[in-house]
């Protein structure tokens, strides 16, 4: 599984109210949520982001609420992966569960600038910053998690297996 795209850089403690403010939680429609993604900190993000882009952020990304609408908004906005120094606990589970790949990689975050192009290879466990020509090793995802992401998240994955 390979993700290649342009970097959107954010700081530490990007909370769920920044990712998707609660006033928009009267719907769970991904496209509606995507329109307001990151509105709290970068109001034009939803207009400017392009399919395939990557979010790179600091520590404790996704802290705050349990709202799954947060990773859903990010995914529906076109973001294909989030790389951060660390993730808040509930966001971490939610992202994998809805099929949004996330990677903890402190050095990649420090080295990456807004607009750089990253190539994330989840099979080989490596991230290449193509703009700066730097390669970083990351923990490769286990097979079950890659399968879960490829199926589109936990529920489609469970449904495929069936037997309930």
């Amino acid at each position: 599984m390979i993700v290649e795209g342009k970097v959107w850089k954010f700081g530490d403690n990007i909370d769920t109210d920044i990712i998707i403010p609660a006033r928009y939680l009267n719907t769970s429609d991904p496209q509606e949520l995507a329109k307001h993604c990151m509105e709290g900190i970068r109001p034009d993000f939803a207009q400017l982001v392009r399919e395939g882009d990557i979010i790179v952020a600091g520590r404790n990304f996704g802290c705050g609420s349990s709202r799954e609408h947060a990773p859903i908004a990010i995914k529906a906005a076109g973001i294909k992966a989030v790389v951060a120094k660390s993730f808040a606990r509930i966001f971490y589970r939610n992202a994998f569960n809805i099929g949004l790949p996330i990677v903890e990689a402190e050095k990649v975050v420090d080295a990456s600038k807004e607009g750089d192009v990253l190539k994330i290879d989840l099979d080989r466990g490596e991230i290449v910053n193509l703009t700066q020509n730097q390669t970083f090793k990351i923990q490769p995802l286990p097979d079950f998690m890659k399968e879960l992401i490829a199926d589109g998240g936990l529920i489609p994955h469970l449904a495929k297996k069936g037997g309930y």
């Binding site: 609660a22 769970s28 709202r67 799954e68 939610n94």
Partner: protein, 420 residues
């Protein structure tokens, strides 16, 4: 080797004699909950996974508390979806307007969560029930959907940190001040994925309502759960409410902790979290003059009877400052009724405060007190992120009901000492 209270509860629910931090377990769930925002997605997950029947009709609580009474048409539709599912599935603990309270005030009050339980909720403040000596943590809707299907959840056993509060609680110092001080010390990532175990003489002195407030905000330090060892106060709270057996767990004397912190509370002054993070905490005397437009007293953090009593004791016979909107929201119908019988509601209304039916409403900028550009609020809620209560240029300051009530009178953030 000794285990902590968190490890003991997790081991018991995984059918194991012992668990260690870092271990992955599959655990049985005693109570699963969701609200009007998170339940629709969980129901969708349940149905997409071809779920026919929930694992147990009496172990799921569906609470319509966030955008209710319906704030707009899309919110009304979300509630309809949950109502329909609750009826189809015969969900026993379904709470709608008229009976509903804020979920984390309501569930303990109804005796639906008990000591030793394992509780999973699609709401980050599910950690509140740790006040009862239960393991409880928040998850997203997909995880909750899977729990509704299977009655189980996979969890990583968290390492525990021990927080010891020494000294006698000074006047006006509440559970809110202790937890804000702690988050200020640890930081919003300071307890990431860990269990926060609260203990010490000041904790023994603290009421159950104060303990709920503290456990409620464990997530604000990034924790998986917050927990208190049950004592005679826990038993007194739980006994008249419980309709099923429960189990009291205590940490072993040789239990292992990642680290231990000691706080001396004897000199503590009321604490305030400044915008835009719950760890941006200062003593009320250190923040200078901050004029406010709105006061909110309520929420899953501070919407219990003791909170309203404290606020009323300060507002009694006084008036909310001109130009300040003071909104009081009892956390449940029972809290509302008790406050009414005690004359607290009369005190609030005579002071010029607006009293609302239970709702999460303004805490997350939903309704019932949304902030406009440049407005400042002092609130007894739990988060002050950018745009949390409304416009991105509004500001939220977090504090206890005592500080909130005093601030309502002075029109600027104030210590209760300043108005009495």
């Amino acid at each position: 080797m000794g285990m902590t209270i968190t490890e003991k509860i997790l081991a018991a629910h995984a059918g194991l004699n012992e668990v260690k931090p870092g271990e992955l377990i599959k655990a049985k769930v005693d109570m699963a909950l969701a609200n009007d925002i998170t339940a629709p997605l969980a129901i969708k997950a349940f149905k997409t996974a071809k779920g026919k029947q929930v694992f147990a009709k009496d172990k799921i609580a569906l609470v319509l508390d966030h955008f209710t009474p319906n704030k707009d048409i899309p919110s009304a539709i979300q509630c309809q979806e949950v109502r329909k599912f609750a009826k189809e599935q015969g969900i026993v603990h379904f709470y709608d307007v008229g009976e509903v309270g804020i979920e984390h005030v309501l569930l303990p009050e109804k005796g639906l969560v008990l000591p030793g339980d394992l509780v999973i909720g699609a709401d980050s403040h599910t950690c509140t029930y740790g006040a009862l000596g239960a393991f409880s943590t928040g998850v997203g809707s997909t995880d909750l959907g899977a729990v509704m299907l299977t009655g189980e959840i996979w969890l990583k056993v968290p390492p525990s940190i021990k927080l010891v509060y020494k000294g006698k609680l000074p006047k006006w110092i509440t559970g809110k001040d202790l937890i804000l001080y702690t988050i200020g010390d640890l930081g919003v990532e300071g307890a990431l994925c860990k269990a926060m175990e609260f203990c010490g003489e000041a904790i023994a002195e603290l009421s159950m309502d104060g303990r709920f407030t503290m456990a409620n905000m464990a997530i604000e330090a990034g924790a998986k759960n917050g927990i208190f060892a049950p004592d005679e106060k826990t038993e007194a709270y739980v006994k008249p409410r419980a309709t099923r057996p429960y189990k009291i767990y205590q940490s072993d004397p040789d239990a292992k902790y990642l680290f231990v912190k000691e706080y001396d509370v004897a000199q503590l002054e009321p604490q305030v979290a400044l915008p835009h993070s719950p760890d941006n905490v200062k003593g009320v005397s250190e923040i200078g003059e901050i004029k406010i437009d709105q006061v909110v007293i309520g929420s899953c953090t501070n919407g219990r009877l003791e909170d309203l009593r404290l606020a009323a004791s300060i507002l009694k016979g006084k008036k909310v400052a001109k130009g300040v909107r003071c909104i009081v929201i009892p956390g449940s119908q029972q809290v509302y009724l008790d406050a009414l019988k005690e004359g607290l509601i009369e005190i609030f209304i005579e002071a010029g405060a607006a009293v609302s039916t239970p709702t999460c409403g303004p805490c997350l900028g939903g309704h019932m007190g949304v902030l406009g550009p440049g407005e400042k609020a002092i609130s007894t809620t739990n988060r002050n992120f950018i745009g949390r209560m409304g416009h991105v240029e509004s500001e939220v300051y977090l504090a206890s009901p005592a500080v909130a009530a005093a601030s309502a009178i002075t029109g600027k953030i104030a210590s209760p000492e300043e108005v009495l």
